[in-house]
């Protein structure tokens, strides 16, 4: 079935297409390139048997230097016809672990529309995010967002690598 792997430059048009197909918050190609050229370890795609990208997570570290280094999910989306395979969960798991390992992130945060029950449930129940606060009129159409947060330190620990090989 679906394979999960790190995003590469050649995936960007497909990621943009997935984003434009599924979500109203869209970005220029340069923004995708910016993610890959700054935090290449953090973005992942789900690829179907025919080699098509059917889901992606675009992730970064927060750039506000006054705050501790946290991971942030810029965008996550899976094509509707690929539901019930746990793709979103798998993409998020890979991204989160990378945030911790590569950048020492202590937390990961994201925004979700307060009306988006399905997404909220994924983050709250499946992925154990908590609501940190509400951001009024966060979205361009005026809808509020929940800013959700998850503690990564409890999940992962630095493993001891076996160098005897």
């Amino acid at each position: 079935m679906i394979t999960i792997r790190q995003a590469r430059a050649s995936d960007e048009i497909a990621m943009q297409n997935c984003n434009l197909t599924n979500l109203p918050e869209n970005y220029h190609m340069k923004y995708y390139l910016y993610h890959l050229a700054t935090w290449p370890e953090l973005s992942f795609v789900a690829e179907n048997e025919q080699g098509r990208v059917v889901g992606y997570v675009l992730a970064k570290m927060n750039e506000d230097m006054t705050e501790p280094l946290d991971g942030h999910i810029t965008s996550l989306s899976v094509m509707r016809s690929y539901r019930r395979l746990g793709i979103a969960e798998r993409l998020m798991n890979q991204a989160q672990r990378a945030m911790f390992e590569v950048f020492d992130a202590k937390f990961v945060s994201l925004h979700v529309r307060i009306s988006n029950i399905a997404a909220f449930s994924l983050y709250r129940n499946t992925l154990s995010f908590d609501i940190d606060h509400t951001e009024p009129k966060y979205y361009a159409d005026g809808e509020d967002a929940y800013s959700m947060k998850k503690d990564l330190t409890a999940l992962y620990s630095l493993e001891q690598e076996n160098l005897d090989f």
Binding site: Q6, P24, F165
Partner: protein, 822 residues
């Protein structure tokens, strides 16, 4: 006057420096005023004129800008600043070749200026002149050998010229500057740890590329404590161990990777290789299956492991594994089950086996509400998903009526499941009922108005049904409310799928102007994608994301091979050729007038949320233009249609040479422009890809005919060309090639098209004859919906009689009984 800046009086020197500072902070109006202050006293000071030109360029006064700069350079031809400024302005206009030339001039007078050298490096990278890049970056390192991103940039340049060994050498020589305990780059540098990690991983990769696997492996062990990209390190470990044939250690490494991501096909196949197994070798099947089963036990949730056995198992094993996966998926309600299984259907036996399997479930569920391993009655949805699968199975084999029956049953059982409507619509589309398809898709959309996915699908189906206005009304439901110009927003967000589909819709409506407009918009998006890399030539190196950067360069080299671009380019060429042909035939296409009841939409330029423009700053965003050419008349009224088409041809020939459409399209343009050698080249390129391509012989016949008719083409060259053609193709004849491929509709269609282009009563009659017969039995499965629609359109264009057209339509309807397009 050719006074240098330093020869100006104090006051003017200060003003000049102030002007340069104003440029850096993008205060262009103030900068312009400052220059004018200098020019008041020294009206022909070369360098000030040049700098003034630079400000003019950024204030959109382009012509003046170039004039002023050129004047400045005439006066001070040896001034580095003047040439540098000229280079900046050319670069701003994306004229990179010219910019590079200016920068080289600037260097002559100021050979060690790091800014000029660095910017020139960016230009050479963009132009893919890697040897020159090496030269430029070598000079920078000579001036400053400690700053890491300088020597790192040089290493990258060496790698790009294929000299991994030299890249390694540069790194080995300089790395201590960054790696040492006492490194000056450590303090107050929050990215130090990451920079070090990337340097080490990049170096290790170079060792691997250089073939030094053992050295790389030893090095990998050494550097682990300082590497933060753990995944990359582990992947590299596994890869190198496998390359060194250390199978056991490699297997353990891949195990570790699978643990971290059990859904990676790469890791799983890597693990299999370590056991000496190849998934495609029949003799390995049992061993592979056993290993996969072992992994499945360890990682029961992995989707990849569930599916993999189906790809290599046969016979009873296949049935067993398929049964397992099928039941799991039906019970879970996974909509993409058939899409996954579809890849197996290239194996006829597997396709049939799966059909039987699901039919079995269906009857069992009908009779007993259970499957053979159920402990209780199955939920109703299992049977619904089963019918859903069988409908798609029937659709795959072209049994559209059966497919639709099954979909009806599924929908009756579960009328709110949107997936069902999407697939029903797809089946109707395959069957040739595009109106029905669109209606069903829209019906599904109404069930979930919050979902953009089905909105997107509906818009696409509306466009396929040529409903351009309805599609527009539907897509804007999801465009940001605060975008003042909705349609511009769609273009700005690079919604290439929409622009392409809309272009094709207009083409079918014979609105060539608007069609071209849209294909140009797609092309423009791809040009933007290609230009986007520019800032990263310095950004990525500073950020120490070298491996990702090289990946970006490789992608950009291939960006125009993307199917949406190729399709749009081919369509644009076809539009321009059509415009040319109509004009040449005396009935030029007239642009279709604007619908004046629609208000032109305007928008003030604002920085959009989510857009991250690396070089954007205060004062740089320009207001978006009102749509000055809504019906694409500029494209239509241009008097050099073939030249415009040629631009697309050039991109295709340069970047997409491996695809047949490139050469088929290119031929049309070259032939009409009477560039016979180029046309021959297209034929040869096409032949190299597919020596039995249906378009080949018609192309040969047409070029021969054109050569015969062209008295102005020199006789010896004509003979040479024709000689080459005869040597390869013999006595090419359209009738003969159609006869030799009598079971294949593509040959009949290509032949008919060729005959139509050749013109004349006999040829046209022959073409009509072929087209009327396009749905004959003898063409079997090559009678695809697309081909038959093409035949229908060709018949209409060639002036076939009503009776000829209805004869064809009747026979086409026998093949596609549900089609509404015949």
């Amino acid at each position: 006057m050719s006074l240098t800046v330093s020869e100006l009086p104090h006051k003017e020197q200060a003003l000049f420096r102030a002007a340069l500072k104003l440029y850096e902070v993008k205060q262009f109006k103030k900068g312009l005023k400052t220059c004018d202050q200098i020019l008041k006293k020294y009206s022909s000071h070369g360098e000030t004129l040049a700098v003034k030109g630079m400000f003019l360029a950024h204030l959109d006064r382009k012509e003046e800008a170039y004039e002023t700069i050129k004047r400045g350079i005439e006066i001070s031809p040896k001034s580095s600043i003047s040439w540098h400024v000229y280079g900046i302005v050319c670069r701003f206009d994306e004229n990179y070749e010219e910019a590079a030339r200016c920068y080289e001039e600037a260097l002559k007078a100021d050979s060690e200026n790091p800014t000029i050298l660095r910017e020139l490096g960016q230009l050479y990278t963009q132009l893919r002149q890697y040897q020159k890049l090496v030269e430029v970056r070598s000079r920078i390192v000579k001036i400053d050998s400690s700053t890491p991103h300088y020597w790192l940039g040089l290493a990258v340049a060496h790698q790009l010229t294929g000299r991994n060994d030299l890249a390694l050498k540069v790194i080995s020589t300089h790395e201590h500057i960054l790696l040492d305990e006492s490194s000056p780059f450590k303090a107050n540098n929050s990215s130090y740890k990451g920079d070090v990690s990337e340097l080490l991983m990049y170096k290790n990769w170079l060792m691997e590329l250089n073939g030094d696997y053992q050295t790389a492996l030893d090095n990998l062990k050494e550097v682990r404590p300082r590497v933060t990209d753990v995944t990359a390190w582990k992947e590299q470990k596994a890869k190198l161990l496998l390359k060194l044939d250390r199978k056991e250690a490699a297997a353990s490494a891949y195990q570790d990777l699978i643990q971290r991501n059990p859904d990676s096909n790469t890791y799983i196949c890597g693990y299999l290789s370590c056991n000496g197994l190849d998934i495609s070798r029949p003799e390995d099947k049992d061993a592979v299956l056993e290993i996969i089963k072992g992994l499945q036990q360890q990682f029961p949730k992995s989707n990849a492991l569930k599916f993999l056995p189906l790809t290599f198992c046969n016979g009873d094993d296949f049935v067993k594994e398929a049964d397992k996966l099928a039941k799991f998926s039906l019970r879970k309600g996974i909509p993409s089950l058939f899409t996954s299984m579809k890849t197996l259907y290239t194996d006829k036996v597997k396709g049939e086996t799966l059909g039987k399997l699901f039919e079995g479930y269906s009857s069992q569920l009908c009779a007993t509400k259970r499957l053979d391993d159920s402990t209780d009655d199955e939920s109703l949805s299992v049977s619904t998903w089963c019918m859903f699968y069988l409908a798609q199975h029937a659709d795959y084999y072209g049994n559209y009526e059966r497919a639709l029956q099954l979909m009806e049953a599924a929908i009756n059982a579960s009328p709110d499941t949107v997936d069902l409507y999407m697939v029903k619509a797809k089946i109707l589309k395959h069957a040739g009922d595009i109106r029905g398809a669109r209606d069903v898709m829209d019906f599904g959309r109404q069930k979930d108005l919050n979902d953009r996915f089905i909105n997107t699908r509906t818009v696409k189906y509306m466009l396929r049904n040529n409903e351009v206005d309805d599609a527009e009304k539907t897509i804007v439901l999801f465009v940001r409310d605060d975008a003042e110009h909705m349609i511009q927003e769609i273009v700005d967000t690079q919604t290439i799928w929409y622009m392409r589909e809309r272009g094709h819709a207009y083409r079918r409506l014979d609105d060539i102007g608007r069609a071209l407009k849209h294909f140009h918009q797609v092309s423009h998006s791809f040009e933007t994608y290609h230009k986007d890399q520019y800032d990263f030539h310095t950004y990525a190196i500073r950020k120490f994301t070298i491996r990702a950067y090289i990946d970006i360069l490789e992608w950009e080299d291939q960006v125009f091979t993307h199917p949406v671009y190729v399709d749009s380019a081919v369509a644009a060429i076809s539009c321009y050729v059509d415009l040319h042909d109509r004009k040449a035939a005396g009935s030029p296409f007239a642009p279709i007038s604007v619908d004046t009841s629609k208000k032109p939409m305007t928008r003030n330029g604002t920085a959009k949320s989510g857009q991250h423009n690396l070089s954007a700053g205060v004062g740089e965003s320009k207001p978006a233009a009102v749509d000055a050419d809504p019906n694409g008349s500029a494209f239509v009224m241009a008097d050099n249609h073939l030249e415009k088409a040629l631009k697309f041809v050039e991109v295709l020939e340069r970047s997409v040479g491996s695809q047949p459409e490139t050469h088929v399209s290119a031929f049309e343009v070259h032939l009409r422009m009477k560039k016979y050698f180029l046309a021959l080249k297209s034929i040869n390129s096409l032949r190299a890809i597919d020596d039995n391509h249906p378009s080949l012989v018609p192309m040969v016949v047409r070029i021969n005919t054109a050569l015969d008719a062209d008295d102005s083409f020199a006789a010896p060259m004509k003979a040479a060309l024709k000689g080459q053609l005869t040597k390869v193709f013999g006595d090419a004849s359209i009738a003969k090639t159609i006869e030799e491929n009598s079971k294949y509709l593509p040959f009949a269609l290509a032949g008919a098209k060729g005959l139509i282009c050749l013109g004349g009563d006999t040829n046209i009659a022959q073409a009509k004859g072929l087209l009327v017969q396009a749905a004959s039995e003898r063409y079997g499965a090559t009678r695809t919906l697309k081909s038959l629609i093409e035949a229908r359109d060709l018949l209409a264009n060639v002036g076939a009689s009503e009776s000829e057209r209805s004869t064809f339509a009747a026979s086409a309807k026998k093949v596609f009984s549900l089609a509404t397009c015949f």
